[in-house]
């Protein structure tokens, strides 16, 4: 009885497992083999295992570390900004959303736009002749910075990313805020805990799990950023905006440095699974 059930469940999950095994398991193995091979476009079909030269090449490449540094800074900065602004908006504007939801729809709109198209839109917004931002800056202040130049590209991209994804953080905090039982707030106000004190001592602690989740999700997405950065600066501005995803993409497609690209992917793969594994263990221990 027990074993037939087991078989039934396995059969139901089999299509998904087979699909993932073929579409991800196989590529993962190919990645591993290529990363320790002397690989070029000519030897793709029969790679020759040659040791860890690719890893040495990546780890001694200053471009790789620069890309890591960009991704890390970008992910941290944008995640923190998005969560701070999103939390502030969700709490301060909460009374506006009590009996109407169209304002939320308006704030959510940027989330529906492809980041790649959003990046292209900002190319227009910031364009020195056709863009309204430089136009108004010239008209009002007689000056306009080079938004995508080497010195300011990082900050421009961070603002672009933040403006598009703050709505995501806002939405999570909005739902978490609505989920706080009204009785708690009433009890607090009877005890004389009002306004900011109520936020710090009652509402914020209750929203901490959401805050942690939002920070993590936004950090991960910021860290692996590709689309909007790629279309806005094409990693350009002197390589100052090469994220790790762009580094891997360019090593493979632009420089045909397959070994380097594959080794970098394997490092990223190992790092992300290590981080996620650690986080999962933490989360599980918390739940107990």
């Amino acid at each position: 009885m027990e074993t037939t059930h087991r078989l039934e469940w396995t059969l139901l999950a089999t299509p998904l497992m087979v699909f993932l095994l073929v579409c991800l398991g196989f590529p993962a193995i190919v990645n591993l083999i290529y990363s320790v091979s002397d690989i070029s476009f000519e030897t793709l079909r029969n790679p020759e295992i040659s040791g860890f030269g690719n890893f040495v090449a990546v780890l001694t490449d200053s471009g790789f570390w620069r890309a890591n540094w960009f991704s890390l800074r970008f992910g941290l900065l944008t995640a923190i900004l998005e969560c701070l602004i999103g939390l502030g908006l969700a709490v301060f504007l909460a009374p506006l959303f009590k009996d109407r939801s169209w304002p939320i729809a308006i704030l959510m709109l940027p989330l529906m736009v492809a980041p790649a198209l959003m990046g292209l839109m900002y190319r227009l917004v910031l364009h020195e002749f056709a863009g309204p931002v430089p136009h108004y800056l010239w008209a009002w202040f007689g000056n306009s910075p080079a938004f995508l130049g080497p010195n300011s590209a990082f900050w421009t991209l961070a603002v672009v990313e933040t403006l598009q994804w703050t709505p995501f953080a806002f939405l999570l905090f909005h739902m978490a805020y609505q989920a706080i039982p009204e009785e708690l707030r009433e009890a607090a106000s009877i005890d004389g805990v009002m306004g900011l004190a109520r936020f710090w001592r009652i509402e914020l602690p209750l929203m901490l799990p959401t805050l942690a989740a939002a920070l993590l999700i936004r950090f991960i997405d910021g860290f692996r950023v590709f689309d909007n950065v790629y279309v806005l600066t094409g990693s350009g501005a002197g390589g100052s905006t090469t994220s790790l995803s762009i580094y891997i993409y360019e090593a493979f497609f632009k420089q045909a440095a397959i070994g380097k690209a594959v080794a970098a992917s394997v490092i990223l793969f190992a790092a992300s699974f290590a981080v996620l594994y650690g986080l999962n263990r933490l989360a599980r221990r918390r739940r107990r």
Binding site: R6, W9, L12, A13, L16, F19, C23, P27, A28, V30, N31, L93, P95, L96, S101, I104, A105, L107, M108, L109, P110, M112, V113, A114, L117, L120, M121, L124, H127, F129, A130, G131, H135, L163, P167, L171, L172, H174, M175, A176, T210, I217, I220, R224, F226, D227, Y230, V231, S245, I248, Y249, F252, V262, L268, F269, S272, F273, L276, Y277, N280
Partner: protein
């Protein structure tokens, strides 16, 4: 008074976040001459000529092909993901199958930078002749969609009372029968949201579209940039703006109509996952 400040803050935030959309919409209705003389937010002489240019099919630029590709790829990536994830989610919830390994592994996939798999998938597709095909890109979109679809469906099936299954089992309905006749229909709202979600995600995807397609299967997120250098010379910003609006509109409309469902789903995916 405080509420007036709130409205002002809301208006400011909404304006800042939607600014690129507003600019693009406005620019798409300006003639090339007006854009160069008046890059501001006001339109003096609205025109539809940019949209006419975008919708005109040429040898190099075919917006209808890009839209059709995006639609086909997103539809396939959504339906296949749901078809694969639904039975698995049922086995995970009711049979506690792979609860400890399979589910966390797939959920973690949501957070892994997919560029990791880009190179081997590119090579695999090259060997199999799947480069620049809708089928190939659709398969990749299925991978992209599976983690979130699975989480949504696992959550939804967990909320279905087990008594429903039991009653059906007493009546002699098989597991598969229960899944398709009882649990599936009860979960229809979650199925619909996961599909909308998956469709928007796949429609907006860019990296794999850029890597795996060159001409026949180009999705609109990639094709849009082709219009930037449409006629030699400088960028025709009006035309570029029009094509961006056309490419961004389908997911925006879906999102506007379904935002209540979508926001609930985002919460479930973010916190329960």
């Amino acid at each position: 008074m405080l509420n007036a400040i709130r409205w002002a803050v809301f208006a400011l935030a909404a304006f800042a976040m939607n600014f690129p959309l507003i600019v693009t919409l406005v620019t798409s209705f300006k003639s090339a001459r007006e854009i160069s003389t008046n890059p501001g937010l006001w339109i003096n002489a609205p025109t539809l000529e940019n949209y006419a240019t975008v919708l005109t099919v040429s040898d190099r630029l075919n917006i209808f092909l890009y839209l059709a590709n995006s639609f086909a790829v997103a539809a396939m990536g959504t339906l296949l993901a749901v078809a694969l994830a639904l039975p698995a989610a049922y086995a995970i919830v009711r049979g506690r199958f792979g609860e400890k390994t399979l589910l966390p592994l797939i959920v973690n996939l949501r957070a892994v930078p997919l560029v990791i798999f880009a190179i081997p998938i590119y090579m695999m597709f090259q060997f199999m002749g799947l480069l620049d095909t809708r089928l190939g890109l659709g398969l990749v979109m299925t991978i992209v969609n599976i983690p979130l679809v699975l989480i949504i469906l696992v959550n939804a099936i967990s909320d279905v009372p087990f008594e429903l299954d039991e009653a059906a089992m007493i009546d002699g309905v098989s597991r598969t029968g229960i899944l398709f006749k009882i649990v599936g229909p009860v979960c229809r709202p979650a199925l619909v949201t996961s599909m909308i979600f998956g469709f928007i995600t796949a429609w907006n995807e860019f990296l794999f579209g850029l890597m795996l397609t060159t001409s026949k299967a180009v999705p609109v997120t990639v094709g849009a940039s082709f219009f930037f250098a449409a006629s030699g010379g400088g960028v025709q910003w009006g035309v570029a703006a029009a094509v961006m609006m056309v490419g961004a509109l389908p997911p925006m409309l879906l999102g506007l109509f379904m935002y209540r469902k979508i926001s609930g789903t985002m919460m479930a995916g973010a916190v329960k996952g």
